[in-house]
Amino acid sequence: MSAEPDGPEDRLRRFATIWSRAVFPVTSTSSTRPEFEERLLPLARLLSEALRARSFDADAGRAAGAALVEAHCTDPEALSRTLDCVDAYLVLYCGEDGDREDLRARSARLQHAMAAGFAQALRERTLTEQEAIARAALEAQGVVAQALHATEARFRAVFEGAAIGIGIADLEGNVLQVNGALRRMFGLSEQALRGRSVKEWVHPDDAPQTWRLYDELVSGEREHYHLEKAFYRPDGTVLWTNLTVSLLRDADGDPQYQLALMEDTTERRLLNLRLRYEATHDALTGLPNRAFFFERLEKALGAGEGQRFGLCYLDLDGFKTVNDSLGHAAGDRLLVEVADRLQACATASGEMVARLGGDEFVALTTGPETERTVDELAARIMNALLAPISVDGRELTVRGSIGIVEGPAGERSAAEVLRSADITMYRAKSAGGNRFELADPEADARAITRHGLTTALPTALDRGEFFIEYQPLVHLGDGSVRGAEALVRWLHPQHGVLSPDRFIPLAEHTGLIVPLGRWVLEQSVRQAREWRDRHGGEALGPLRINVNLSPCQLTHPGLVQDTVEILERTGMTPDALCLEVTESALIGADDDLLKPLRRLAEMGVDIALDDFGTGYSNLANLRRLPVSVLKLDRSFTQSMQQFPADPVDLKIVEGIVSLAHSLDLAVTVEGVETGAQAEQLRILGCDTAQGWYYARPGPPDRLHELALVDATG
C-alpha cells in the first residue's frame, strides 16, 4: 500500500514498524520481522480506528490483544512491550487532531482491553494446547498399551498354553509368576506357588552342583544352567524335571529375574525305572533276576581287598513233582511263597536273594565276614523252608538242596562262582537233598571236566580230534579174521585218549552224536574198502566192518540215506557192513523206529543186536526185529574164563545160541580173554568172537597184519 508521506497511512505504518521492532525479539514466530510487521499492521489499524471512532468501543483492543496470541506472541513480555508501545505511540501517530485528553483516555482503555483480550486468548490457547497434548499423550498411551496388550496377550497365551512349565522368580528366589503347566506339575494353585521361595525346593536327590549353579546365576556370574531336579509335591510324591534356569537382565544389563523352564520327566523316569526293574526282576516272584544277580555278584567279586562273598545256590527238591501233579499254577504259587520266605532271610545290607529261573534261587552275602554269615544264611534258608506251604488247601512240605560257595573277592569270575555253586548244589541233591554242601575244588574239577568235555565236543570233530580203533572179529570155527568192530576214540588235547563211555553219552545229550556217528560210519567203511583193496578181496573172503549206532542216530531221519551214500561213495556192497544196535535202544521199538533198520536189512546190511542179555530181553520180540546177528554181552562169558565154567551160564548160552540159530541169527560173543573160553564157546556153537584173547582194539594196520597172519597161518 502506497502512502502519502506523513499522511495518516504512513503514520499508521510507522506505528506498526515501531511496534513490530519492539515485540519481534520476544516472539517465537518463524516469520521474519517484516512479515511480522505485516501481521501487526491490521491490528494497528484497528486500534487507530477505535481511537478516533465517533462512539468509542474498547472491543477493538480485545481483538487486537487476542490477535497477538494468534501471531504466536505468547510470551507475556510481548504484551508488556506492546502496551508500552501503544501507550507511547498510538495517540502520537494515530491521534490526528482529536482532543489529546480524550485520546489518551481512549488509549488507556484500549490498552486495558488489549491486556484482557491477550490474557483470555492466551488462557484459551494454553488450555487448548494442554488439552491437545494430554489427549495425544493418552492416545499414544492407548496405542502403545494396545500394542503392548496384543503382544502381552500373545505372550500370555504362549506362557499359559505352553506345555513346558514356566516360572519367574526374583533374584531373592521369590516366585513371581508361574504358568498352568507348572502349576499342574506341582499340583499347586498360583496363590500357593506365588511368593514361595525357590530356595525351599531342596530335595535329597539334588545333584551336588545344583545350588552352586543357582548361586552363580542369581549373583549374575552365570547366564543359565540346566540339570535334572526333583521336587516334592504337596502330596509327598516326587516330581522329576528337566530344569533350565536363565538369568533375565534389564535394559542396562543388570540381573533382574530368573526364568525357569521345566519339563516333567517323572513319567519318563518312572518308565525307565520300571523298564530297568522289569529287566532286572523276575516277573513271577518280584525277586531280582539272573541279570541283576550277576551284576551284583560281579560287583561283590570286584570289591576291594578284605572283602569276601558268600553264595547259596538253592534248588527245591522234587519241585517237578509238584508241577506235574498239582499243575503249573500251583507250582507258581509255591515259588512265590518260597521267594517271600527267602527274601525275609536276606534283609541285612549286602545281602540279596534272586531267582535264577525255574525252582533255582540264589542268596548272596557280602562283606568281610562271609565265612560265618554265609553259613548262617544257609541255615536261615533251610529253616525258612521247614514250615509246610499251603497251596490250594494242601500243605506242601518243601525241601531244598543248597550249594555254598564262599571266598575272597577278586579271585574268580561270576560265572565260575555260579558254576561251582551249581555243582555243589547237585552234590547236595545227589546226597539225598534237604541239606547244604560246601563247595569242594576236587568235586568241582570232576564236574567241570564233564562240563568241559561237553563244550569241547563240537570243535573236537572239526579239529579232527577223533580217531577209530578196530577190534577183530574172529570166526570160532577156523580162527580166521572175518571182520572188525570200529570203536571211536577222542584224543583230547588235555585229557589224552578218551574212551567212548566218557563222551558218547555227552554227544548223545548234545545231539553231536549224529554228525560224529556219520563220520565214524564213513571212516570205517572207507577202511573196509582199503582192506579189501589190499587183500585182493576173494582170497580171504570179504572183511566185514561193524559200526555202532546210537539210539539218537536210529531216530535220525537221514540214517538210511547217509548209509546208502557212504556205501556208494566208497564203492562197498551193503553186506560188508554190519550196524550194531543195543538191545535197550530197541526195547519197545515200534514199526516207525524199525522201518529204517528194515530198509537197511533189505538192502543187505547186517544188523546186530548189541549187548544182548543186558536189557529186558524179550525173546519173542526177536522175530519181529530185522536183525541177523546177536552179540552176547560179556557178562555171559565172564564165568567161562574160569575152569570149570558155571554150568548154569553154559546152559543159558547154549539155549540162546540154539534159539538164535533157529531164528537164523548168527551169534557173536564179546570179551573173550582166554583160549579155554574160546574153545568152550566154539563148542557151544557160537559163530564169531572178539576179545583180548585175539586182539585189543588197535589201528587199522594191526588188523591188516592179523588178517595176513590168519591167512597164511
Partner: protein, 270 residues
C-alpha cells in the same frame, strides 16, 4: 489382564521429551511440567535456547520455500516433533498447493498429536518410525502411499541428527536414505554444535548435560563432522553455514546472537 512385572513400560510421560521441550522453547503449551522443568534447567545454562529453536524454524521455512521454488513437491520430515505453528506442510502447501508432506517421529505422543493436527489433510501424514531404522521408514505403508520415491523428495533432518549417537551410526542411516531418493532430491539439515554458541563451551556443556540427564543425549558435532552428512550431495549455496546466514530474508546482523549456534545447509543429489 495383569501386566507381567518384568514387562517393560513403553510410554512414560513422567520423563521429559525433547519434542515437547522444543514446543516449550517456542512458547507453546504442548508440554508437561517435566518437559518445562528440564527445558528451564537447560535454559539456566543457555538462556538463548529458544532463539536457536526459532532460528531452526525460520531456516526450515526458508529451505522448504527454496525447495518448492526448485520444483520439489514432496517433503519427508524426519524428527518432526510436535507441530506447533509454521510447520512444513503449512509452508509447503502455501508455496505449492498439491505438496505432499510425510512426517516421521518416534515419540508416540508427538505422533498422536500430529495425527490430530493433520486430520482431514490429504496432503500430509505422520508415521511412527525411527531415523535409526531408515528401511522401516522407506517401506512403511504411509510413506509408500504419500511419497513417490521415483520423484525428487526434500528430506528434512532438522534438529534431529544431534540426537543420534555415533553408536547408532547416523551416517549410514543418512546414506541409506539418500540411496532411496530420486536424483534431484534435497537434504535439508541443521545440527547443534559448540561452534557459534555465544557462550564459553563449559556453560554450553551444562545444557548438554541436562539432555544427558533426561536420557536423550545431545551430540554436539563439529562443522566437519556435520558436513560429512552431505556426502553424495552437492551443497546448495551458501553451503553449510550458521542458520541466519543461509539465504536470509533479512539482514543476519539483526538476528539474535544465539541463532548462530550450530549449522544449517541444503544439499542436492545429482
Amino acid at each position: 489382564m495383569e501386566r507381567p512385572a518384568w514387562a517393560p513400560r513403553s510410554i512414560d510421560i513422567s520423563a521429559p521429551s525433547v519434542s515437547r521441550m522444543y514446543d516449550y522453547y517456542l512458547g507453546g503449551s504442548h508440554n508437561f511440567e517435566v518437559d518445562r522443568e528440564a527445558a528451564r534447567r537447560a535454559m539456566e545454562f543457555m538462556p538463548g535456547l529458544p532463539k536457536i529453536m526459532q532460528a531452526n524454524r525460520a531456516f526450515m521455512r526458508r529451505a522448504v520455500r527454496f525447495a518448492a521454488g526448485e520444483g520439489i513437491t514432496q517433503f519427508l520430515d524426519i524428527g518432526s516433533g510436535i507441530p506447533t505453528f509454521g510447520n512444513v506442510h503449512e509452508v509447503a502447501q502455501a508455496a505449492v498447493p498439491d505438496a505432499r508432506v510425510m512426517y516421521v517421529d518416534h515419540d508416540p505422543v508427538a505422533v498422536a498429536h500430529s495425527q490430530a493436527v493433520l486430520e482431514g489433510d490429504d496432503g500430509a501424514d505422520i508415521v511412527a518410525a525411527d531415523l535409526r531404522k531408515p528401511q522401516e521408514i522407506l517401506h512403511s505403508p504411509e510413506v509408500l502411499r504419500l511419497i513417490d520415491l521415483n520423484r525428487p523428495v526434500a528430506l528434512l533432518l532438522v534438529a534431529i541428527l544431534h540426537f543420534v549417537e555415533d553408536a547408532d551410526d547416523p551416517y549410514t542411516a543418512v546414506a541409506e536414505l539418500r540411496q532411496a531418493l530420486a536424483p534431484g532430491s534435497m537434504l535439508v539439515l541443521t545440527h547443534a554444535s559448540y561452534e557459534g554458541i555465544p557462550l564459553p563451551t563449559e556453560r554450553a556443556e551444562g545444557a548438554v548435560d541436562v539432555y544427558q540427564d533426561i536420557r536423550n543425549p545431545l551430540i554436539m558435532r563439529t562443522r566437519d563432522e556435520i558436513a560429512r552428512f552431505f556426502e553424495g550431495y552437492d551443497m546448495v549455496e551458501p553451503g553449510l553455514v550458521p542458520m541466519p546466514q543461509w539465504r536470509p530474508d533479512t539482514a543476519p546482523e539483526d538476528e539474535d546472537p544465539y541463532a548462530f549456534s550450530g549449522f544449517a545447509g541444503v544439499g542436492r543429489t545429482a
